[in-house]
């Protein structure tokens, strides 16, 4: 199902799906209502997620980059996904690898790779992979619109944010960050058109996810998700590599040069792949001090060596089942995703765990990209056939005075979700307040993942305990956190200064973007203006559409103000030379349509509930009354015709 060539220079922009994987990355798009993986610069669908940085600023991605790994291991970054959104002191950075890290003292919040000619962050490395995939997509499809990019379900906020930053840096518009297991379920669900409860077992190169979801008439509702964002096939390679290093006589740290480690990790991967079909694998390894040693690996031994890793997946799976309130026998099908599910021991383990033969009829390497392409098309075409209801993978909390965690949103809450918390000052005339947001299940804040510190400033001087700060946390449909804060006694909205604990600030991403463009700031300004024009046109069109269907909701002056705002925006699209002017017109239109937008939403809610009235008249007459009462209570008059 690999798409070869359908280049059409006049084709409209097409939405694409991208699986940005630890070992491989894939780009896919829909063709004749079926997802297709696009051939990348390597001539295959699977692009190795490897980036080589040359001496003269040249960058090579994919198979060709992998070719450099033995010669220039420190300039060749593989498995960069493991470092996304992680700090320099993170456990992940200490695992066996060929990376050379730049002095971290400058910025502990982000990993920096020293690739000889320069220093790069995981976000920049990932952006190179995305850029290459986007270019392949353009070669096939002509223009590329937005992209759905998949992330492990168990990725935390910092890891998701880093992925989004990489896309931004690569010049891609992110339609959605989609959880990988949900993407796989989407690919399977549409293929099989079958309702029921499914488990998606996703063991990739560097991450493990387990997701339980139900499929019911086009709604994919995630029940629970769990996993380990630092467990995958790479860890199996490392277990074997350690044994190989011992056989080679490389016991000391000094003998494990990046060149040696690179060779050994490669040999371990090959042996692992061979053992999928064979019972014994043999590889020739260089011996310390010259000569070679023949290394023989039996499948039974390999299976014993990786047993602890495989069992870790069972723990997460059992917890996810419990969270969903399901027994293994409630599961109608188990979907296998990720190259590591090819390991026979893993497959056998899944069979035992769920008491059934798992499904693998869609290529486990491609299924996530297929699902991403499906979702990209659904979002771009505003289809209403399918809806994904996903969940928050890890609990969100705020650090309390004693270093504990006050949970504000528990894991497996359906997103988008929000919660409010009220805080108070503990000193007289305190004008500022720091709130530390963490993510995870542990009791102590220091054991959870630190997401961000928010500084609330400008609180009017008051005695201790008098100020009432209401902080509202939102998790949006991309599973990204947003925060708003208000001081309740004065009604002032507080300034929220976001300082991510890990990852890059907006300014740093901006600076990278300028660096990445040929003419830096001038190019960026031009690009912004072009983007703002497209966005303004889209909004004009959407407003017209709304007016065409629901003009009866408008007051006469309101209608006139919207008209004025629209014509001003229309003129600005033609004549504006700075994005700021467009923004001004957009803000005015936004303000003018604020009430109208709310009214339209009320009508949509009433219609959603009324849709059921037809089927179940008696019961829902009361229900509809409930909503009307709610709308009235919120100060919105109820429309007669919406009942």
């Amino acid at each position: 199902m690999v798409l070869l060539d359908i280049f059409d220079p006049k084709a409209p922009p097409r939405a694409i799906g991208i699986d940005l994987g630890t070992t491989h990355s894939i780009v896919a798009a829909m063709r004749d209502e079926r997802p297709m993986a696009l051939v990348t610069c390597d001539g295959t669908a699977l692009l190795p997620s490897v980036v080589y940085y040359g001496d003269h600023g040249n960058v090579v991605v994919g198979q060709a980059a992998r070719g450099f790994s033995a010669r220039a291991p420190e300039r060749t970054i593989a498995s960069v996904k493991r470092f996304m959104g992680r700090g320099a002191a993170d456990e992940q950075t200490k695992k066996l690898g060929t990376y050379r890290f730049a002095d971290a003292a400058a910025d502990e919040r982000v990993v920096h790779f020293d690739v000889g000619s320069r220093v790069v962050t995981p976000v920049e490395v990932s952006a190179e992979i995305l850029r290459s995939l986007a270019q392949s997509a353009r070669d096939h499809l002509g223009a590329v619109g937005g992209a759905v990019i998949t992330v492990p379900a168990y990725f935390d906020d910092a890891q998701r944010q880093a992925t989004k930053d990489a896309a931004k840096l690569a010049g891609l518009t992110v339609l959605r960050l989609l959880n990988e297991p949900t993407a796989a379920a989407l690919a399977y669900g549409l293929d099989k058109k079958q309702n029921g409860t499914f488990a998606v077992y996703d063991l990739g190169g560097g991450t493990f996810d387990i997701t339980l979801l139900t499929l019911d008439d086009g709604i994919f509702q995630v029940r629970s998700t769990g996993g380990d964002s630092a467990l995958g096939g790479d860890d199996m390679d490392r277990v074997i590599a350690e044994e190989m290093l011992a056989a080679m006589g490389c016991a000391t740290e000094a003998s494990r040069t990046p060149e040696v480690v690179s060779v050994v990790l490669d040999a371990a991967r090959q042996a692992k792949h061979a053992l999928t079909d064979a019972l014994v694998a043999e590889v020739e390894l260089p011996k310390l001090g010259g000569g070679h040693v023949m290394y023989r690996l039996e499948r039974a031994h390999f299976e014993d060596a990786i047993a602890p890793l495989v069992e870790r997946t069972g723990r997460a799976a059992r917890r996810a089942l419990r969270d969903a309130g399901l027994a293994p026998t409630d599961v109608d099908g188990v979907i296998l995703v990720g190259g590591s599910t090819r390991v026979p021991r893993v497959r056998a383990y899944v069979r035992e765990l769920f008491g059934q033969e798992p499904l693998a009829d869609i290529d486990p390497d491609l299924v996530v990209a297929y699902g991403a392409a499906v979702q990209a098309e659904l979002l771009a075409s505003e289809s209403d056939e399918v809806l994904l209801l996903d969940v928050l993978p890890l609990s969100l909390g705020v650090e309390t005075m004693g270093g504990g965690v006050d949970k504000i949103l528990p894991r497996n809450t359906t997103i988008p979700a929000g919660a409010k918390s009220v805080f108070t000052t503990y000193a007289d005339d305190q004008t500022g307040f720091v709130i530390h947001v963490v993510q995870g299940e542990r009791e102590l804040a220091s054991d959870c993942r630190s997401l961000a510190r928010f500084v609330l400033s400008g609180i009017p001087p008051m005695p201790a305990g008098m100020a009432r700060l209401e902080v509202e946390f939102f998790v949006d449909e991309n599973n990204l956190l947003q925060v708003e804060a208000r001081e309740l006694t004065t009604g002032l909205t507080q300034h929220v200064e976001v300082q991510p604990s890990y990852g890059l600030t907006d300014e740093q991403v901006e600076a990278m973007l300028i660096d990445a463009l040929d003419h830096g700031e001038a190019d960026l300004e031009a690009r912004r203006l072009a983007d703002a024009r497209v966005e303004a046109e889209r909004i004009l069109l959407a407003t017209r559409k709304g007016l065409a269907t629901d003009a009866d909701l408008l007051e006469p002056e309101e209608a006139a103000r919207i008209e004025r705002a629209m014509s001003a925006l229309g003129e600005a699209i033609e004549t504006a030379t700075k994005p700021a002017r467009l923004q001004l017109c957009l803000d005015e239109l936004d303000d003018a349509t604020h009430r109208f937008a709310g009214q339209r939403m009320n009508r949509a809610i009433a219609a959603a509930i009324a849709g059921r009235n037809l089927m179940d008249v008696e019961k829902t007459v009361e229900h509809a009354a409930g909503v009307d009462a709610h709308l009235l209570a919120h100060g919105h008059p109820v429309e007669e015709e919406s009942r």
Partner: protein, 171 residues
């Protein structure tokens, strides 16, 4: 915010979970941000806000303790923790014993014991749920009976949550 109003359902303690789920899906179909990708920023904001409200209401109504609290709030009764009447001494004795069994199971890493304890608590939880449902169904609700059963339910929920955390450790 009254979660029953947000979902447009009849306020009642006993409800059909299938109906509740169905309503949540209908509203999600109308409000989920994916349904508003091409809309104006204002409409997307409104949709997001409403979708969050609906998901929050769904979470409250699905959870018996929070559902009971929402219903009590409608009756004008205080739902603050600690507002309930003092628990019976027998109940408190039982609680202490169960807590002891829980820490024992944890120390001994006794999964079977933990499982048994969980089953016992779940049976008691079901009983308290039944009492609460009957109390809500009464023509003139007895606030002492309501708050008493709610207090027990809160305790059972917390106990089961702790047992879950210990199970996580032992899995």
């Amino acid at each position: 915010m009254d979660p029953f109003q947000t979902l447009g359902i009849e306020p009642a303690f006993e409800l059909d979970s299938k109906d509740l789920e169905q309503r949540h899906r209908e509203l999600s179909r109308a409000l989920h941000p994916d349904r508003h990708v091409g809309k104006t920023p204002g409409e997307r904001r409104h949709a997001l806000g409403r979708a969050i409200e609906v998901n929050d209401a769904y979470r409250i109504v699905k959870d018996p303790v929070r559902r009971a609290e929402a219903l009590l709030a409608r009756l004008g009764l205080s739902v603050e923790e600690g507002a309930e009447p003092k628990a019976a001494p027998e109940f408190l004795m039982e609680v202490m014993e169960q807590r002891e069994l829980l820490s024992e199971a944890r120390a001994k890493r006794d999964r079977a014991g933990l499982e048994r304890l969980r089953a016992t608590i779940e049976a008691q939880q079901a009983d308290a749920l039944g009492r609460l449902a009957r109390a809500f169904a009464a023509t003139t609700p007895d606030s002492a009976a309501l708050l008493g059963a709610l207090g027990e339910l809160r305790y059972f929920a917390r106990f089961l949550e702790e047992a879950g955390a210990i199970e996580d450790e032992l899995l």
